[in-house]
Subunit: 235 residues, 4 copies
């Protein structure tokens, strides 16, 4: 029983969860400390590096919505999903606090002026969809296993989204970013962070559904595709 307990404790501080913690902390540290007009570039590019760094260890999700999409695609277990989510949110809060100490200011994810809640949440759903759709296609397809561009692709979506819809929704695309920043600023903006988190998870879930349609053939390449016998959109 005691051994069992230690075992569970080890799952929580396994290389995978430490990797998720460090990666998410480093990402949110960058988001918290970057204040120039080039901030989206800083955020996206550090994510490129962190995904390549942690990919072989934990898959380098650093994002509960990405982990949800990976889980729905069958690329991770439910218990791993739980420990990943915890590592990511704790990492996000840690990075937000460290970034706040360094920069002397604590920011939160917030929507732009004259942006309706619907617009903001739709922006978060859409961009998180693009992010998770990209992750599933570049990082979970055997046909392109061991490619050398998965980290670049993933980071660039966040970079792009931070420029395009960042001024609209705040540009989290990641519950660990939204919640981490909120926790670090003593739960300021927590309601918005929770809304954003739900939108991100919805975007991730939709991406897993679309991925199934799109990857139908490349996931079963040896099989002969018989036209007319299956309606992809009904799967």
């Amino acid at each position: 029983e005691s051994k069992q307990y230690i075992s569970k404790r080890n799952i929580m501080i396994s290389p995978e969860t430490v990797c998720e913690f460090i990666g998410t902390a480093s990402l949110v540290f960058t988001i918290q400390s970057a204040s120039s007009e080039l901030a989206p570039i800083a955020i996206g590019f550090v994510l490129v590096a962190l995904v390549f760094a942690g990919g072989p260890v934990s898959g380098a999700h650093y994002n509960p919505a990405v982990s949800l999409a990976a889980f729905m695609r069958g690329a991770m277990t439910l218990s791993d999903l739980g420990s990943y989510w915890i590592s990511q949110v704790v990492g996000g809060a840690t990075g937000a606090i460290l970034g706040g100490i360094v920069s002397g200011s604590y920011s939160t994810v917030a929507s732009g002026d004259e942006v309706t809640p619907f617009q903001a949440q739709l922006a978060e759903v859409c961009l998180t969809f693009v992010l998770c759709y990209t992750v599933l296609n570049v990082a979970t397809v055997p046909k392109v296993e061991n490619n050398h561009y998965y980290g670049l692709s993933i980071g660039l979506v966040v970079l792009s989204g931070a420029i395009s819809v960042g001024p609209i929704s705040g540009g989290a695309f990641n519950p660990a970013v939204a919640l981490g920043l909120s926790i670090a600023s003593r739960f300021e903006g927590l309601y918005y962070a929770l809304c954003v988190s739900v939108s991100n998870l919805i975007g991730g879930a939709v991406s897993a559904v679309c991925f199934k349609i799109v990857s139908k053939n490349i996931l079963s390449e040896p099989e002969t595709v018989v036209l007319g016998e299956s309606a992809p959109l009904n799967t």
Copy 2:
């Protein structure tokens, strides 16, 4: 007969066309919603990610001019060309509408002040040429099959062109972008979008001709090249 009908319907909603739809929609969503000075970077970089994501499924054209060049190079059939074009334009319009809802404004492709129609269309021809020439060289040459830079190369041409000639022609380089944005704004600027589309297709066609000259040797590498027996430019 019924089976035949279902079969055709399936072609329209095959993984390939869904992939083209999602990719083009995501690209045009970014174009519609990005309004900062870094917009060209957002547009080009999301294209990098989307090309890597969809490449193994559909070739990740997301652009009727690219599909035309691929067709002329012998890399896709005429019937595929048709379904790709439809998916791309429908995807472009969908992305433009979603982006318009999110950002609250609908933009169209338009030329800069004091730019003549000739200058604008020449800019579109030239840049679409560079784009399609790049696509054919990095994505249809057996010698560099399975390279890990095709998506980066393709997205970077669009990023570059959006900076260089974007202020001149509007920077579409893609009929699905020009038409999609026009459709979403209730056919505003449709004439200009059609002109741009023709210019894009011309650029794509010219690139296929130049590609034949340039790739003459690398497409037939095992053969011995005998100087003086063929005039490449006359092929």
Copy 3:
């Protein structure tokens, strides 16, 4: 004799020289038409794409200084050097003219205000050195043959240099750029373009010397390196 003549003519319009022409023209077209503050990014990134596109065909030099360095490194013949130089300068002039038509203005390479000629030329020597040193290391070393980052590395040096010393020297790092822009603007600034060209060739030549020192071991990896028997810097 007639056949011989055709043969020579074919060398001039071989796939390699057409590839150099198209690539250099596309690069200088971008330089000529880009006018925003993001111009260095447009220039460097289109070069990334063009180098990946043309690399398998011609080596994708697009730059007489790069070709000189490649020649000194033993990677191309003297007669090829000649035809490459011609293709590059003609391509540069063509791109500059097209870019001038499209943008309605013709620029030339020029040094910044309050910059001495010595500072400007030293900047051109240093940056062309970094460029050619990078080319030789990423594109002519058997140990890293078939790598997927050579085009990225090469384009990023130009992007970087255009930001760092562009305001000092004009940021050509390439005689085909300096001369092409001068030719297109009816030989305006030709003297400066010639000085820059000489500086670029010097930078390229110095890079070939440094490359020999640095690559001493990786070019002869099977051999055992005996310390104390050779003084690398005296080679």
Copy 4:
């Protein structure tokens, strides 16, 4: 004995140390000469190119903190560490002098207004940690040996950090940058440069410790990981 002497002298001017010298000089030359708002992009991207260029020769550290992390990870010997450090600092000073001549101004690393020494040094520790953590994960793990993204990942961390905490700490993340710039400006800001250097080395050392935890499984992949028998964080 004489031979022994020559041998040692050769170690100092080996391909590896010349490579570190050229790379660090080129990096600091860029830092010294870049003055536009895009300077972080110039600095990070030239580092991408230089890391890819010198990687096969010397590992392309160009940074005493990276070399320390590599040493602690067991990837280089103590005597190599010494000669690398000397090459890097001498290279940094050389690049800073050349860059100063070219740009006509000599800058040093300095913290932002209203930034406390603690904030500045913490920023340097954190970013150098992310940098070295990335280096160890992408460049010293057999599982991802011969990957084609290590240079990109490393350069992008510096690019990101120069944007995010550059305005806070000055953004060195590298003792050779801090000391090289100080030496070139006649030891101005030497005290701050020394503080930064210590912070950078601390960040590098911490990264080596974290790397051990995170890479525990991927470094010993053939072994079966038995849960409950080891506590990773106590290693």
